[in-house]
């Protein structure tokens, strides 16, 4: 019996829309399931520029970027449900996955040959980063504040402290400053900023916002509304140093403490997860440990650029196409990608050597004048610097990969 669809894409953000468009172009029968009321995902609330420099060779806002995909998707007449939640995935066999989807019109049971899981990430919350104290009003995650300001047009507060200097935190600092709030500080636990240098310049320096490195917000105080935060210096093990506490009065705390791939439904289905990326272990088609279930975007690995997210969506679509054509990804002798010196994470984890492959990686610590080395294939790339905040995107050619036997190590080493 034929399944309802060749591919069901879960998530209608940039990864999901790009995957669906590509899958449709391959001639697959596609369905997209989005849990918000509108297609588009997070870029819908990203009013700042910096999107699409690689993919469209243009500098677009998140909103402009995502509408190019939304418009194309709608023109192609691809089927979709909004306001629909996937509550379970049952891998019934390699060629049949059963989805249970709750929609406003009732519960749907859908069968499909493949799944592209593109649900993005969730935000880390205050309890995950060791903040104690009262639980007053005025504590928001960066994403919540962004929805309030840039979709609903409501200011969350006036005197702001931002926890975390990743790009999300920096961009929100600028949005608050532009809209007339007083951003009193950005607090970063690491000894270096979490976001891109360009965002330190244009989001903090432009507005004279102080950045406290090697500091943590250890306590939030306030009876009804936030009244102040307690900020403490941390040692090299990121432990607060007693006696270094200081108070910063404020009415709003924004938690921008990073993102985690959102995999709830896949975890229930028994997926294997890489503790470094916190996303699934995947092969070069972004296929997970469940055959025919692919993953793309921030559900795979936390990306810096939406351009990479889209690239992963399109690659997952190619994987789904091959899977449908061949009734499974043709079995390979997979070669492992091994993390060497100063590599914190890398994805994909397994490659065949039959195709060019793009590796997405992050380093553990910042370093200058280094080379990125792949000893088994004699490849070296000189880099002026590496920073944990800046994802490395490295293309390895098929011919280069042919030199490796069973593994390919990626390492960062100093060069002189």
């Amino acid at each position: 019996m034929q399944n309802d669809y060749d591919v069901v894409v879960i998530g209608g953000g940039p990864a999901g829309l790009a995957a669906a468009i590509k899958a449709k172009e391959y001639g697959l029968r596609v369905l997209v399931i989005e849990n918000r009321e509108t297609l588009g995902g997070i870029p819908l609330q990203c009013v700042h520029p910096g999107f699409g420099l690689h993919y469209f060779k243009e500098d677009l806002t998140g909103t402009e970027f995502i509408y190019r995909f939304i418009n194309k998707f709608l023109e192609m007449g691809i089927e979709y449900h909004t306001g629909a939640h996937v509550v379970s995935i049952e891998p019934f066999s390699d060629l049949e996955k059963r989805l249970t989807v709750v929609t406003s019109k009732g519960v749907l049971e859908i069968t499909t040959t493949t799944i592209i899981y593109a649900t993005g990430a969730r935000e880390r919350h205050p309890f995950e980063i060791g903040i104690t104290g009262h639980r007053p009003a005025g504590v928001y995650t960066a994403g919540e504040a962004q929805t309030m300001m840039d979709i609903d047009g409501i200011m969350p507060g006036k005197e702001i402290v931002i926890v975390g200097s990743g790009d999300v935190g920096l961009i929100m600092a600028r949005r608050f400053a532009l809209e007339g709030a007083h951003v009193k500080a950005v607090i970063e636990i690491m000894p270096y900023p979490g976001g891109l240098m360009r965002n330190i310049v244009q989001c903090l320096q432009d507005f004279g916002i102080p950045l406290y490195l090697s500091h943590a917000v250890t306590r939030i105080e306030g009876t009804k509304r936030v009244e102040k935060v307690i900020v403490t210096k941390v040692d090299e093990n990121l432990k607060p140093i007693p006696g270094t506490e200081k108070e910063i009065p404020c009415d709003t705390v924004i938690i921008a403490a990073g993102l985690v791939p959102y995999l709830k439904v896949l975890e229930k289905a028994g997926i294997i997860i890489d503790p470094a990326t916190r996303g699934p272990v995947v092969n070069e088609y972004l296929e997970t440990s469940i055959p025919g279930v692919f993953v793309a975007g921030n559900a795979l690995v936390i990306n810096d650029l939406v351009d990479y997210v889209v690239e992963q969506g399109e690659l997952a679509a190619k994987g789904a196409y091959l899977y449908v054509q061949n009734k499974g990804i043709p079995t390979k002798k997979w070669k492992r990608i091994v993390k060497g010196r100063n590599i914190r994470l890398v994805t994909p984890h397994y490659i065949s050597g039959d195709n060019d492959v793009i590796l997405y990686a992050r380093v553990q610590k910042p370093e200058e004048k280094v080379k990125l080395r792949f000893p088994e294939i004699d490849k070296e790339i000189k880099l002026p610097f590496v920073r944990p905040a800046e994802m490395l995107r490295i293309k390895l050619k098929k011919e280069e990969l042919a030199r490796a036997k069973d593994k390919i190590t990626m390492e960062v080493v100093p060069h002189d």
Binding site: V47, H48, T61, T63, E179, R198, I200, Q202
Partner: protein, 124 residues
């Protein structure tokens, strides 16, 4: 004798974040180093002479499927004009529908830039 000044900048044109150095003698730029593309060089020169930024915000929408529309300046504007532009934008309200790319305010605060919509809003 003209004074020699060195400026160290982090380029914001793209996420690479090149470290660019500009050497000036008086008001004259004598050397730019560290850029990897022509846009970077242009940015560095702009940044030490008259820094510019694209400004983004949201404005209120009446009768729309969204309560706001996101907007930006259609070109970079002088940094010193940003507070004035934001104050003017706070007073603007539009009626749905709004098309993506629609000009909402022409030549805002005499900056030479128009305010354009970056998200469509349907009328309900």
């Amino acid at each position: 004798m003209t004074e020699t000044r060195h400026f160290k900048l982090t380029c914001i044109v793209c996420p690479l974040g090149c470290e660019i150095e500009v050497k000036m003698e008086g008001d004259k730029i004598v050397e730019v180093t560290g850029f990897t593309c022509p846009k970077g060089k242009e940015y560095a020169i702009q940044e030490v002479t008259a820094p510019k930024r694209v400004v983004m915000s949201v404005i209120k929408v009446k009768n729309g499927d969204f309560p706001t529309v996101s907007v930006k300046t259609d070109r970079p504007v002088l940094k010193k004009l940003i507070p004035k532009i934001m104050k003017e934008l706070a007073k603007v309200e539009v009626e749905a529908p709004v098309e993506l790319g629609q000009v909402i305010v022409e030549n805002i605060a005499n900056s030479g830039a128009n305010i354009v919509a970056t998200r469509p809003v349907k009328r309900i």
